[in-house]
Every structure is written in C-alpha cells, then in structure tokens.
C-alpha cells in the first residue's frame, strides 16, 4: 500500500568506513535521546577519560551520556543544537586519547554472551544505548517488556530505504559478525525464538554477506524486502516481515514485535561484549556535488563543521542545504557549529538546484498524495482542514497516524508542502488534546 520510489543515490556505497580524528574541543549534549536530558555528573576542571559517565539518566525516559574523549571539563553550559535549539551540554578540552580501562579495545570478536536477559538490559542502560534509527528511543526501556505484553518477533531494520544513506550498508559489509552477535544478544534479552533482519533487495551484496554469516548463528533470519520507500518505517517493516499490522495509536509490542535498527545492534555488541558505551556514530558524508564520498566512524559530539572540514575541506560554493539524515525524512541543519548527537546517520550536502522547492500551484485533486500514503490517509484533506482551522476534523481523519515519511509532498504535482502542513496540523491536534486534559 502506498509508497514511492525516490532516486536512491547511494553514491557512498563503496566508501569503506574511515576513522575521523578527534577534534580539539568537544561539546557533549545532555539530551541526545528521546525524553528528559541526562544530569551532568562532572564539574568544571574534572579530568575525564574516553567512555566515562558524564551525564546520568535520572528520569525514567532518559539515557546515560558518556565522554567521547579524554581531557578536562571546560564548563557545564548550554549549546545550540543543529536545529538552533538551546540544550544543556558539557564542554571538554581534549587531551590525548586515554580510554577507560574497562573498555576492551582489542579487535578480537567475542561471541559468547553469558549474561541473563535482565543483566543485558541493565548493561544497555549503563552504556547509554539508544535506538539509532532516528528516534533515539532509550534501549533499556524498549527491551524491558511491560507486564502483560509478550515479544514474539525481533525485527532488525536494515532496509535503509532513505536515499543517500549508506552507514548501515557499510556496517553490514564490514562488521557482519558483530552485528549478528548484537542481534543474538537482543534476541536473548527478549527471549524470542527468531530475529529477522530486513534488508531491501537493492543491496544484494549485503544480503549475501549477512546470509552467509547468519548461518553460524541460531535464530537469525535474513529477510530480503521489496524496494519501496518507506519500507523501513516501523509499521511498514513489521507488516512486511510478519504480516501483522500495528493498529492506530498502538505500539509494535502490542502485536508482539520489537523493532531495532541495524546500527543499534552493532552498538549493542560493543556495549555488552566490549564494555564500550555509545560514544561513536557511523555516519555518511555524501552529496552529488561533493568531490569525494565517505563513511566515517565519528566520536559523538564532533561538530558538523569539523566533519565537513575533515571530509572535503569546505562546502562547495553552490551548497544549498545541509541535511542530517536522508532526503525524505532528514532535517535541514541550521547550525553547522552544532555537535553531532547519538543517532545521527549522515551529513548530506545538497546543491542549490536540488535544494530549491518548485512553486506551489493549485491542487487538481489528482489523489496522488492519497495513493502514495503508506498509512492510507488523505493528505490533501488534512492540508485543507488545517488551513481552515478545523483541527478536530483533522484528528477524526486520523492525522496523528501520519508517520511524516514525505511521500505525499514527494508525489504532489502541484508542489503543495503537504508534509509541512500535516506536521503543523499534528502539533495543533496535540496542543488541542493537551488543553482538553
């Protein structure tokens, strides 16, 4: 149902993962995850090591934050994030690269995991693991199945259906075994018989490699998926793998599913087997007009400018837009001095021409937005209702089911910014619901 086929543009597919050097100063944001910010547990002048806890999760919906570098805490202050919003942060002046002794930095692959499910979840919490698919949902909450619910399927999202992004693909090509160990650990934590790794059919090499490695593991099934955006969206992925459908307003666990991103399973491997907190991102630096394409392993907190400078020197003169994420759901970066955070998957540079929106024309009621919507909604109707202030009607027509995949705007021949209008409408509906309470 629905979906579109944007140009794939996986031009950084063949760029092996490189290690990005550590910058001279690091700004580590305290809310890099969904929920409340972590509470700083270091003060100005403290010495920190790589992997040391600097922000503690004290609220329920929160995740630990660790220092990605070694050095001295310069200040505990705030910083403007990539989208211009001020957030609490710890500034660290980098000195050397001294890691905590507990972290296993050897290249050996450690397969056996003797931890019990509860201990695994505790480890995920300790290491500050969050979902790396974009939502940055704290992993210890996701893998702690609430009373009365039962997980039957673990689904690993390796669809990477967003144009341009290649970080998951590179992880599968370079670290398939670690990924499978991470998936096995998550499978054990949930106590489910099988884990399914969904990969879109446009990545035959990754499918072959993962199938070969998965043979050595019990209960890991590689699930090739039809190429169609948004195949990797949670509800669509669950449907493609299990045939089940998550009803409106429900969570995957309500149909017995837990979905995790492929990058997360690699981070889980490092956290559980190597004692390494989530302090690094695997990140694609790409763009049609860039002189070179890269995939990097980056210390979380490295700024966009640092990354751009190291990868390509400077942005091309004709740069129109810098996006964090893919072209369909990524966000346009406002502030290139901002530090990267957990879950960042790319620095995507678009040219002026590509970045320009075509002028809006009249709606011709062609219904393309409706046919493209993977949730079976009516975007044209939301647009009209929101413009006319009919927020309750928008809610009745299930505007909150919108997953903001962008298929409606993508396919609209009148260039109506439907996704923008729906986002606005969703916010208005939420505000209305909050006011009613």
């Amino acid at each position: 149902m629905g979906g579109v086929h944007p140009e794939e543009n996986k031009i950084s597919n063949d760029a092996a993962i490189e290690v990005m050097p550590v910058p001279a100063q690091m700004v580590v944001m305290m809310n890099q995850h969904l929920g409340a910010p972590a509470t700083p547990v270091v003060q100005k002048g403290d010495k920190v090591k790589v992997g040391q806890l600097i922000g503690e999760a004290q609220a329920f919906m929160c995740a630990n934050v660790h220092s990605p570098v070694s050095g001295t805490v310069l200040k505990v202050d705030t910083v403007k994030d990539a989208f211009g919003i001020t957030k609490p942060a710890v500034y660290i002046t980098v000195e050397g690269d001294e890691w905590q002794e507990t972290i296993d930095r050897t290249p050996d692959i450690k397969r056996e995991c003797t931890l019990e499910p509860q201990a695994i979840v505790a480890k995920l919490k300790e290491m500050g693991i969050v979902g790396l698919g974009g939502a940055t949902f704290p992993a210890h909450i996701k893998y702690n199945i609430p009373e009365g619910k039962k997980a039957e399927y673990l689904i690993i999202n390796a669809a990477e259906c967003e144009p341009y992004l290649t970080s998951d693909y590179r992880v599968m090509m370079e670290h398939p075994e670690e990924v499978c160990i991470g998936v096995s650990i998550l499978r054990k934590a949930l106590g489910v018989p099988n884990a399914y790794i969904g990969i879109e059919n446009n990545k035959p090499l990754a499918i072959a490699k993962m199938q070969e490695v998965a043979k050595q593991f019990e209960g890991i099934v590689i699930e090739p998926l039809k190429v169609k955006y948004p195949q990797g969206a949670e509800k669509q992925l669950i449907n493609a793998v299990t045939g089940r459908k998550v009803p409106s307003g429900k969570l995957p666990i309500d149909v017995g599913c837990v979905v995790s991103n492929l990058g997360t399973s690699f981070a889980v491997y490092e956290a559980v087997q190597k004692n390494k907190p989530l302090i690094e991102n695997i990140l694609t630096v790409t763009g049609k007009k860039l002189p070179s394409q890269h995939n990097y392993i980056v210390r979380i907190g490295t700024t966009y400018n640092d990354i751009i400078k190291h990868a390509i020197g400077q942005l091309p003169d004709t740069t129109g837009k810098v996006i964090s994420g893919g072209t369909m759901m990524g966000r346009a970066v406002v502030n290139l001095d901002a530090p990267t955070v957990k879950g960042n998957s790319s620095v995507l540079v678009m040219d002026e021409g590509e970045a320009r929106r075509n002028p809006e024309t009249a709606c011709i009621r062609c219904g393309k937005c409706m046919h493209a919507c993977p949730m079976g909604l009516e975007p044209y109707l939301f647009s009209a209702l929101v413009k006319n202030g009919r927020i309750e009607d928008a809610q009745k027509h299930n505007i909150l089911d919108c997953i903001e995949c962008g298929c409606c705007f993508f396919s609209c021949p009148a260039n109506k910014p439907l996704t923008d209008e729906i986002r606005l409408g969703k916010n208005k509906v939420r505000a209305m619901m909050a006011a009613k309470k």
């Binding site: 149902m1 140009e7 144009p163 509800k235 449907n239 459908k245 998550v246 009803p247 409106s248 942005l315 003169d317 004709t318 740069t319 129109g320 837009k321 810098v322 996006i323 994420g325 072209t327 369909m328 759901m329 990524g330 966000r331 346009a332 970066v333 406002v334 290139l336 678009m350 002026e352 970045a355 320009r356 929106r357 075509n358 024309t361 009249a362 011709i364 009621r365 062609c366 219904g367 393309k368 409706m370 046919h371 919507c373 949730m375 079976g376 909604l377 009516e378 044209y380 299930n398 089911d401 903001e404 962008g406 705007f409 993508f410 609209c412 021949p413 009148a414 260039n415 910014p417 996704t419």
Partner: protein
C-alpha cells in the same frame, strides 16, 4: 558561501507537475485529432485551432483583467479544455464561430467562476458542449457525411450519426462494427474513432495519469446494461458493441470522466463513478429525449463526486 536553505522534509520531489500532466493529456488527444482531420478534413483542424485558441485567450483575459491573478495559461489545462470541446462538436463551418461561444462558457462559466483549475465541480469542456447543444440544437446535430479518408468535399445536411438514426428507428445497415471502431461514421469530430481514443488512453495509463478504474467501469457497465436490453429485445435496442463504438462513450470514458478535478480520488469511488456514468448514459440514450447521453451522464456524476469522495475513503493502514 551562500546562506543555507532550511525547510521541512522531504527535501526531494518526484518532479511531477500539473503542467506535465496537462501536456501529456494533450499528447494523448493527438491520435483522435489526426483521425478527425483524416475523416473531416481541414474543417476539423480549423475548429480545433479556434477552440484551443479561444479557450486559452479567455482564460488569459479573465485572469489578467477580471481576477487580476498571475496567468496560468502555460499549464496546458486550457488547451485540454479547448481540444475536448472541439472533439465534442461536429466539424462543420458554422462551428467555427459557435465553438468560440462554447469556449467562453467552458472557461468562463465552467472553470473560472469557481476559481480556476482544480476548483471547478464540472468538466469545463462538457459544460461548454451542453450549453451549445441546448442553444444551437440544429448546428450541433448537423454532421458532415464521412466519405472515405481525406475527403475533398462534404455534404452537410444528410449526415446522421448511427445513434440519431437508431433513435429514429433505422440504424443504417451500411454501418459496420469495424467502421464504428475505426471511426468511419458520423459524429462529433473526436468521438468517431474508438481505436484512436484507446491509443491515447493507453498512453495516459502508462504515464499513470489515469487508472483503469473509471474507463473500465464506465464502458463495462454500458456494455452489460445494453447487452441485457439487447438480449431482451434485439429489435428495439442497439447491439452492445455498436453501443460502445458509436457516440461519445469511448471519448467520455477515457478523457472526460477521468478528468482528475471532477472525478473521485479513491479507487473505490472511481468505480462507483464509472458505473454511474455507464448506467446514466444507457438510460438517457434509450429513454431520454436525446440520442446521446454521455455528456449529461458525466455532468450528473460530476455533481455527486464530492459526496463520493466523502464516502469512499482509502483503506487505512491496519483497519
């Protein structure tokens, strides 16, 4: 370096546009136009040009001097209206001025009074056509006699469409099904050749501008309904295949009923719309005052499109 652009996602677009859609519809009308020129000669070409030019001109004048909005004549929609209007009139010399009135009604009343492209409840070309049919009944039903391909002279008064002849009780025995399929019959200039229309419709389907739902349900319903009548009484009712290939069913089902603006959006709604058009067409043809009912059928169904849209929702995910 320039300032960076900021916008919400998505950051890419399919590059589809209203303009592209409209010009593709115009492309799809070319086979039928060529057949019309082949059968009806230079008159067909002249009527088409006059209709298109007047539609575009009226739209420009109204946008520029009455509505005072940026002009949209380049989007090709007025050209589509002009061509379809021309296809719905006979290719006779008197049409060369009558069609200008039709264009004014189609664009002025059918489209711009409602706010222009996308806002009109009725198919503008059909509004123009029906206005002319009521106002100029004689001229609108005087058909040039088709006498071979690329005829040099016409005998205007004696021609009758197979439908009109049938209405009067005598289907000319010389009209074969094959003639009707290829277009070698009397009629409005764009509706005579089912083959040319189907070629255009296939192109639109391939480009995903129309889907099969409306044409198939329209033509299918008309076929089944007329087949039932014919089986009950073959002397009184027309053979179902002849029913399909004469008059405007093919043109209506493929190009007029499928107009995005005035037809339902959901596939289920499109099926209801097509069935309604098919039923009404056969009812009007057999029991109405006019020998042809396609225009009225489509306009009537246009009027219930908002209701159909309200009723026929797409299947929600997980419902």
């Amino acid at each position: 370096m320039n300032l960076l652009n900021i916008s919400g996602s998505p950051h890419v677009h399919s590059d589809e546009s209203t303009k592209k859609i409209m010009w593709r519809v115009n492309m799809a009308l070319i086979p039928a136009l060529l057949v019309a020129i082949a059968y009806f000669g230079i008159n067909a070409l002249l009527v088409s040009i006059i209709a298109v030019v007047s539609c575009v001109l009226f739209q420009w004048l109204i946008e520029k001097f009455i509505l005072k909005v940026p002009t949209t004549i380049c989007d090709g929609s007025a050209v589509v209206t002009g061509l379809l209007l021309a296809f719905n009139v006979p290719a006779t010399p008197s049409m060369m001025w009558i069609v200008i009135i039709g264009a004014l009604v189609a664009i002025g009343i059918g489209k711009m009074t409602f706010g222009g492209l996308g806002k009109n409840p009725f198919n503008p070309a059909l509004v123009g056509r029906v206005f002319l049919l009521i106002s100029f009944p004689v001229q609108m039903t005087t058909w040039p006699v088709v006498d071979g391909i690329f005829p040099m002279h016409f005998d205007l008064a004696t021609g009758a469409t197979p439908l009109a002849a049938f209405k009067e009780g005598s289907l000319g025995s010389d009209v074969t099904l094959w003639d009707a399929f290829l277009g070698h019959i009397g009629g409005s200039m764009g509706e005579v050749s089912a083959l040319a229309i189907l070629i255009g419709a296939a192109y639109l389907c391939w480009k995903k501008i129309i889907s099969w739902h409306i044409p198939v349900s329209f033509i299918g319903t008309a076929f089944i309904f007329s087949a039932i009548l014919w089986l009950v009484n073959p002397d009184q009712y027309m053979d179902p295949l002849m029913t399909l290939f004469t008059g405007g069913i093919m043109l209506g089902a493929c190009f007029m009923a499928t107009d995005m603006v005035t037809s339902p959006m959901a596939k289920s709604g499109q099926l209801i719309f097509g069935v309604g058009c098919g039923l009404l067409t056969i009812i009007i043809r057999n029991w109405g005052a006019y020998p042809e009912g396609v225009s009225f059928a489509i306009l009537l169904m246009n009027s219930v499109t908002p209701l159909i849209n309200r009723w026929c929702k797409p299947a929600r995910f997980a419902e």
